[in-house]
């Protein structure tokens, strides 16, 4: 089957490994991720002020053009997923704002597109039991810490992705690949996001807290679905090491990298796009 796919800006460059492994992994599972034509940046932030509709135009345009081609849109990056899904929710439920936005775009749209994350497609279309049957390189023996971050989960009434306080979809994915999921306290606590730029120390402290907790619980590696979480948790480890004198580094992967590996599609990982060497054994 084919599913329309929105990669987002970061996946075309800095997170090319996320893009490539997602497309390859899904293809192996019988799902072709067909890239949406002429997509725009989602603007990477859902505007929280009530009057800034300009900030929603790019996301709206993506949703409108996707709906012309399909009923569902698959998204891989947690940030894009959050922005597109929240904007879609607004277009569906707020009559006045929908009218203002669609009038400006000179389009008609009712919010009927279904915005899906790749993990949801793995769960609902492929099924984790089926996925487990297709695994060629079992990850048995590995202890994996799932890092959800914020954007997949919150606000839960709009995202409706998983339990916002105790999600389990990453754990189910990890088990399907044969590995053990590490239960730790900070799996859905923010990494500091874009504060990386104006307040780098905040992100370094966040990464230290999250990773130390995962390492204490015995994790060998961390998985995530957000390129900014990946960077914040990976790149900062050098700085944590400098600050603390020593730090037992831990590689941070996109979940699709492990998917492609477990399905036998890749033998090693894109070293250029990892700071802590991406070694799993």
């Amino acid at each position: 089957m084919k599913i329309l796919f929105y990669p987002g800006c970061t996946l075309t460059q800095k997170a090319k490994n996320f893009y490539d492994t997602a497309v390859a992994g899904f293809k192996e599972l019988g799902i072709e991720l067909e890239e949406l034509k002429n997509w725009y940046c989602c603007q990477a932030d859902f505007s929280l002020v009530t009057d800034n509709l300009m900030a929603m135009l790019a996301a709206s345009r993506n949703l409108v053009s996707a709906r012309k081609e399909a009923a569902e849109l698959a998204v891989s990056c947690s940030t894009c997923y959050n922005v597109l899904k929240r904007t879609n929710h607004l277009l569906k439920n707020d009559d006045a704002k929908r009218k203002a936005i669609t009038d400006f775009l000179e389009e008609k749209y009712d919010g009927s597109l279904k915005v899906l994350h790749l993990l949801e497609i793995l769960r609902d279309n492929v099924g984790f039991e089926n996925l487990a049957k297709k695994v060629k390189n079992s990850l048995a023996g590995l202890k994996i810490a799932p890092y959800y971050g914020c954007l997949l989960l919150r606000p839960d009434d709009e995202m409706q992705f998983d339990n916002p306080e105790n999600p389990a979809i990453f754990e189910d994915f990890i088990h399907a690949l044969g590995a053990e999921a590490v239960d730790y306290a900070h799996k859905s606590e923010c990494c500091g996001s874009y504060l990386l730029i104006p307040s780098r120390d905040v992100v370094v402290a966040r990464a230290d807290k999250i990773l130390s907790n995962a390492i204490d619980k015995g994790a060998n590696l961390v998985i995530t679905s957000c390129p900014l979480c990946q960077f914040n948790l990976d790149w900062t480890q050098e700085l944590i090491k400098k600050q603390k004198g020593s730090f037992p580094t831990i590689p941070v992967f996109y979940f699709t990298e492990l998917l492609a590996y477990a399905l036998g599609l890749i033998k090693d990982f894109d070293k250029e796009r990892h700071f802590v060497p991406p070694i799993i054994r």
Partner: protein
């Protein structure tokens, strides 16, 4: 701090309410937002205190705080607020009051080529969105 009734009648409270879409007086200071905030260690004023200061119309204290620039809208607070207040929207409203006066809190120059070449595009886009 001196509480003054005239501060309750300034445009500030009205503006925050309008931009955030939140009922500011729903907050009864349980502190759940501050307890769950992952960035709270770096803040100078706790999130629940920001809500309280706005209720009293203490515009200067709020606008001068570091806290409003440190909230990354992870929505942990909103998720746990028993009164359904979205504190992240209040933070964004206050930031917008400042930014709409033409002030920019973020300059792209000086980040360094090496850093710029490494960071994900979305970090830059969101920083521009929140700080300019």
């Amino acid at each position: 701090m001196k509480l003054e009734s005239k501060k309750l009648k300034t445009d500030f409270i009205k503006k925050v309410e309008e931009l955030s879409g939140q009922n500011l007086y729903a907050c009864y200071q349980c502190g759940k937002c501050s307890a769950g905030c992952p960035i709270v260690d770096s803040m100078d004023i706790l999130p629940n205190q920001i809500a309280r200061l706005i209720q009293f119309g203490e515009e200067r204290e709020v606008l001068d705080s570091k806290t409003i620039w440190l909230c990354a809208a992870c929505l942990q607070c909103m998720n746990r607020c028993p009164k359904g207040v979205d504190i992240a929207r209040i933070m964004d409203a206050v930031r917008n009051i400042i930014l709409r006066k033409g002030l920019e809190k973020f300059k792209i120059t000086g980040l360094g080529d090496d850093f710029m070449n490494k960071i994900p595009q979305q970090a830059l886009v969101s920083a521009f969105r929140k700080y300019t």
